[in-house]
């Protein structure tokens, strides 16, 4: 009983001692590390390797934020979260930022009280079919059996697509991604549908990858972006501009290898960007070397992409929508000035 009373008193004291309005940046600084919510089982986005070291595009985004805040990309703790847990974890302040392949939607920004920053991966739902079916377009899929994960927007999108095009379909619903895979490669269904980033991974592990082909149709928009809480604009700016800095660095051609030489660049835009001409970091409440630290320690967006999901990884995804705007993609950063 006495112990309980002490705990209650302690909690009360703590509740009083913590100013409720402290900004996220101050909290993170006081704590000494960033807490980022991640998925934990999506290869290429956030997943531990066999040594338990986190790898992936979302993971590297979180590392970039840590580099911006602390000048040290390793000062981040990753909290694996399930799809249901992710939003409450952010709302209850268990995590500072959510980098967990989360699709930006209107209701999530409004009723859930969250803010999505700049998109760090443009995904969309696609179809994977065996080559031997000779299908060239998703419009030819009338009457197909379709392997799909239950309870996701994927299932709803597929239903919408088939209804819209007046086609029949038979969904084969299997809970686990790995089992779904097996069913498809064993020929239990004609088509596998999922986010195209996932399909690339599935195709990579097929018994014979060349026997399968991704159809050109993308039937949904899935802009995946890091998420922060409503009501802390400074923190929103930091996370948002960290993602933009990754993109802008690629546009400038600044990489983790050449960033030291780039410090000597005569281009005023690059000088401003890298903090040689001070001001940008100060405006965010950060060190002026924040972009330098990000690029030196994590790399630019292109490097992160190539390392985790690019053509030389098991996922082997071409840049597509995720190329820079100058190369026909959607990655476009606002000017740093």
């Amino acid at each position: 009983m006495k112990g309980l009373r002490i705990v209650v008193v302690l909690l009360a004291v703590l509740a009083l001692a913590l100013p409720a309005s402290a900004g996220t940046l101050d909290e993170v600084r006081a704590r000494g590390y960033l807490i980022a919510g991640v998925n934990g089982s999506v290869f290429g986005f956030s997943m531990p390797d066999e040594k338990g070291v986190w790898k992936g595009l979302d993971v590297d985004t979180a590392r970039a934020i840590a580099a911006a805040v602390f000048g040290d990309a390793s000062k981040v703790k990753f909290v694996p979260l399930t799809a249901v847990q992710r939003l409450p974890a952010l709302q209850s302040k268990e995590i500072d930022v959510l980098c967990r392949n989360t699709t930006q939607t209107l209701t999530r920004e409004t009723t859930n009280g969250l803010n999505f920053v700049h998109v760090n991966f443009y995904d969309g739902q696609g179809f994977l079919v065996p080559k031997k079916l000779g299908i060239k377009s998703a419009k030819e899929l009338d009457g197909a059996t379709v392997c799909v994960l239950p309870g996701t927007t994927t299932e709803l999108n597929a239903a919408d697509f088939f209804r819209k095009n007046n086609m029949q379909w038979k969904p084969v619903v299997i809970e686990q991604a790995a089992e779904l895979n097996k069913a498809f490669f064993a020929g239990r269904c004609d088509v596998l549908t999922s986010d195209s980033s996932q399909l690339a991974g599935h195709r990579a592990v097929a018994p014979n990858p060349d026997d399968y082909v991704l159809l050109p149709e993308i039937i949904s928009k899935e802009p995946l972006a890091p998420v922060v809480r409503h009501g802390d604009d400074q923190w929103y700016d930091i996370v948002n501009w960290t993602v933009m800095a990754l993109i802008q660095a690629e546009e400038f051609g600044i990489t983790s290898k050449n960033v030291d030489e780039m410090l000597k660049s005569k281009d005023p835009a690059i000088q401003r960007f890298l903090g040689v001409t001070p001001g940008m970091g100060k405006a965010l409440g950060l060190d002026d070397k924040w972009t330098y630290n990000i690029i030196k320690q994590v790399g630019n967006y292109g490097e992160i992409y190539e390392r985790n999901v690019g053509p030389n990884t098991p996922l082997g995804m071409p840049r597509g929508l995720n190329a820079l705007w100058t190369q026909g993609g959607l990655m476009y950063a606002a000017p740093f000035r």
């Binding site: 409450p88 790995a178 592990v205």
Partner: protein
Amino acid sequence: MSEQVHVVKPPVTSVGVVGWLRQNLFNTPFNSLLSLVTLYFLWSVLPPFVRWAFIDASWFSPSQVCRDGAGACWSVITQNIRFILFGFYPYDQQWRPAVAVVLLLGLLFFSRDRKYWSKRLGYAWIVGLVAMGVLMAGGVPGLPAVETTKWGGLPLTLLLSVFGLTAAYPLGVILALGRQSKMPAIKVLSVVYIEMIRGVPLISLLFMASIIFPLFLPEGITINKILRAQVAIILFTGAYIAEVVRGGLQAIPKGQYEAAESLGLNYYLTMRLVILPQALKIVIPPTVGILVSAFKDTSLVVIIALYDVLKTTQTVLSNPEWMGFSREAYIFLAILYFLGCFSMSHYSRKLEMELSTENH
């Protein structure tokens, strides 16, 4: 082997292997048929399985060799064993959870025999628990601190089940006594608690503990995720054990209570010396049933993203390199869980025999 047998023996058809076969497998036409069907089944299943699991299997190869091979790919376990067993625990510090697990298993092993039960063993447990805590958490010179968020794999499964079960058992006994109590307040509270918890699946309790509970805490305060799950498991298992123990209490004849009363024993002594020893003994089998299922239920923490041994294995399976070897991985997990469950039920049978007061 020599052919010349000069000593007269009983006919070969009634002794030895042949005799045994005739007596047990082919004694009636129906049994013969069953035996043949079983034999055919074994013949068609076992050799391919042995070939798959042992002869053609690859044990330590990279995944590409596995994909080309025809047999089982145990490499999915061996190549990732340290992540499967220890999760996110820092790679160079993983000897610490390994030692802690060995310590725990050793203590459990020594505690299984009642003749070792003594004060010494009690002290050994205290020392062992402290040592395990220090090993896992660190923070003393020579052992860098490791946060609980990095605990995972087998140590987490054992932590949740061993401490969950040992804490749930006394809680269950107290609740059962409370439900039998003559004091209305205590009785009502116990009944409400037991029925409420039993009316809710464990999954929803875990969800509440991990998702809803933090939203009610004052800002900035978070309670350890493992602790939240652990408490949920204890509360849940406790309620089930309470009902089992109540069954035991009700099975004790009224005469025992009256006898204890006429000896002048108070409530506490009556329970401790007369009623509980008999009641708890009666309910060993159902209690162990609950403990075994609670042990398996700890794997439900997967849904709140705690990396117990099931989750670490599944994580390995979602790596494209190892995708598709789920059979091997789940067989490995099944063996792990079987070892845990089987030793529990084996121990309970032994305990029943030792505690039996009937004359054999």
